[in-house]
Amino acid sequence: MAEKKKKDEDASGLALSSDIMELLAKFQEIELEDFELEVKDLELWLESGALPRQLMPQLKAAPGLKGKPAELMMTQFARPIENYPGKIVEVTLGATKAEGGSRGRTITIGGETSPAFYSFERPMVHPPVVTLDVFDMEVPLTKAVKMHVKDVIGDPAAWAKLAVDKFGADMVTVHLISIDPLLKNATPKDAVKTIEEITQAVDVPLVIGGCGDPVKDADVFAEIAETFAGERFLISSITADMDVERCAKFVKKNGHVALSFTPMDLNLARELNRRLYDFLSNEDIVMDLTTAALGYGLDYAFTNMERARLGGLMGDVELAHPMSSGTTNAWAAREAWLKMGADWEPRELRGPLWEVTTALTLLLAGVDLFMMMHPAAVKTLKDVTAHLVSGKKADACKFVDWVSMKP
């Protein structure tokens, strides 16, 4: 399995076209319907959630005219390399049997000593990873997403397996929506059972997502943390209005990792991290600074994250944590799913491209962990990341062909 995956990744450059096409081709069969709202009252905000070189002698070039250079004036480009006093902390997610867990592999994120993909300066230590969303009950999904997961909705274990085996997820995020007191109000024991099934179905590291209720989430997280002690789950998320001390303690005691979530404000992010430092070491904290969708505040999210990363590199340890992004929030933009008329269709392409654009923007701001939804968006992000860290060089000669090519 691992070997096969590796092989797939190596071939990703070639496989890209056919795979994405396969993922997207399905849309042609699907009747266009409006955004489905099956669970009308459900809150779906993820907290962490060339021409031949033909020189013309006859042109009135005036070589040697007064003041005009007759030959190229050769010079060198001084590569602007900088050093940073800080380093982003490395956080390892998941634990293998030998390490006290049951995962097939662990994933380490962070460790940067330069801004994102400044590989002219320093290579990327750990390439960003993708965790796919899995919901533990039926949720409103746009058609573009739903068509890929319709057979597994309501079966989180099967959904997780699909995400890993077919969509190439590095990790899986289990959104325990059903625990919401305003929805099914499922018990902590119910949630444990769901997680149990998923740990059996897939062996990747897991992200445990709550419902957004600060009290209920803490109760459920506590139960899961204890039952799955040593698994190094990413607990998504710990927010300022939860019982931070209690949460930090059960995360620490049972060997998990906290996702420190704050609403787009670096001071609040620092503050929450400080509260967590009383109980957790820096290596146990990933931060989520809030992701807003392309067109709906992405600029704020981008700048906030870019500032956080530069701050961390400049020595602000309270911001020197790997960053997670609830990239799925891209679908909150109506342009991602709305039927907009012939000029803007098909939305089955527009939607996942919306998610890709949101993801790539934040990739360049320094995000280490992407929580994503659409398989084509996931595939693209993984391919781009693989290309960026491949160490391969550009084929410069071919580039000039763009001028004269006939696509």
């Binding site: 905000w45 070589p63 590569r79 993909f117 870019e306 000029d343 491209l353 919306w354 693209t380 550009a394």
Partner: protein, 477 residues
Amino acid sequence: MTEREKKTKVGIKELSPIDVYKLLPKTNCKECGQENCMAFATKIVNREVNIDQCPPLLKKENEKAYKQLKEMLKPAVKEVVVGVGDKAVKIGGKLVMYRHEFTYFNPTAIAIDVTDEMPEDELLSRVKKTENFSYEYIGYTLKLNMIAVRCTSGDPEKFKSAVKKVVENTELPLILCTLNPNVAEAGLMAAPKANPLLYAANMDNWKDMAELAIMYSCPLVASAPNDLDMLMSLSKTLHAYGVQDIVLDPGTFPNEGLADTLNNFTMLRRAACKAGEELAGLPLMGVPMAAWIDKGDAADEIVKWREAYLAAMLIVRYADVLVMHGADGWSLLPNTVLRQNIYTDPRKPVAVEPGLKVFGTPDENSPVFFTTNFALTYYTVASDIENSKTNAYLIVVDTEGSAVDSGVAGRKLTAEKVADAIKETGVESKVKHRKLIIPGKASRISGEIEELSGWKVQVGPRDSSEIPKYLVEKWQP
């Protein structure tokens, strides 16, 4: 640039209004429209006004101060104008590397290509489609900006005739694309006054291209794919040759070349902004349509997809002008929105004033909505209510600039705040009914709102675009 010059150049962050004020005429004449010279200086530093708006400064006796100010305010990346008239575009003019350091000026110009071998109707339809591209987004109209005419025939006459057709049919600025100076000259002859961007001078043809750029006084792209030493050599040589406006093309490489692409753009921009390197301080051109070079047997949609995400990465990483081939709405919309986002002024507040907004002429039976004071949410909802032509009240709740969904999740939007806002806005004295239409994404707090406010809650649509439909189907006072 000499070391001495580098040191005297003031970084944008260190520039204070006092520095500017010292060089102004200090007449407090108000001819610029400001109260006094200090106010004008402050606006200059914030780049809200231009020094040319100070009439006394333009007088002969102030020439020295004017020049000093020009130099002091010179952006790290030179601004280059392409085209003429209303549709001319400014590219470059960047003051900073990171947008949070100040703000970015001159949004990335997007050009769509046509070729000299396209049938006339196809060429014209691409030009029109480019010109007519338009999307209304929170009070802005998103547009495409330029036409890139490529010579695929190798025939100067064909190129000339294609350029002629384009200039006759659009006022959008042009990029003339050919590496053959003969062809380039033919193109320029067809658009002698259009101030097109000429693509490109490279290590082989630079002298002829430089002559053409000077003769037609048009901006010129220097191109050295993945060779920054050569690019700087070309920049230096063209400057020395007397070419006024230069744009840099370090090459755009899809797929395996992505790392080199991003590195080159990033290094050039950093050299300009952080090291004051003038040879690099020029607008950068990206060519996402390079994604089509290796098309192979991939479906067009896939190449458009690759081209689109390559463009997105270049919008984030410092491209000042982009040439694209895919002209579909679905692939261009995300990029035009991204461009708008990245180029908004981060100094502007995220939030609008909370309070009661009135639409049309509401009476005691008109519907009452609420939304948050996050600027984007507010403008989206406001525009949807306006479009519905409904007379209505909209309560803007202070959520400290959070959107509805993140506000509920982050407890910035609570039932208490909604109940307080109902009281504070005095809407209770304006309508007879007690029915509040709340955003669909705030449904989880509907019970609490009813309890605390005494109003009956009607859960509205999850997306405000459905407000008109909702009112027809569900609203009764």
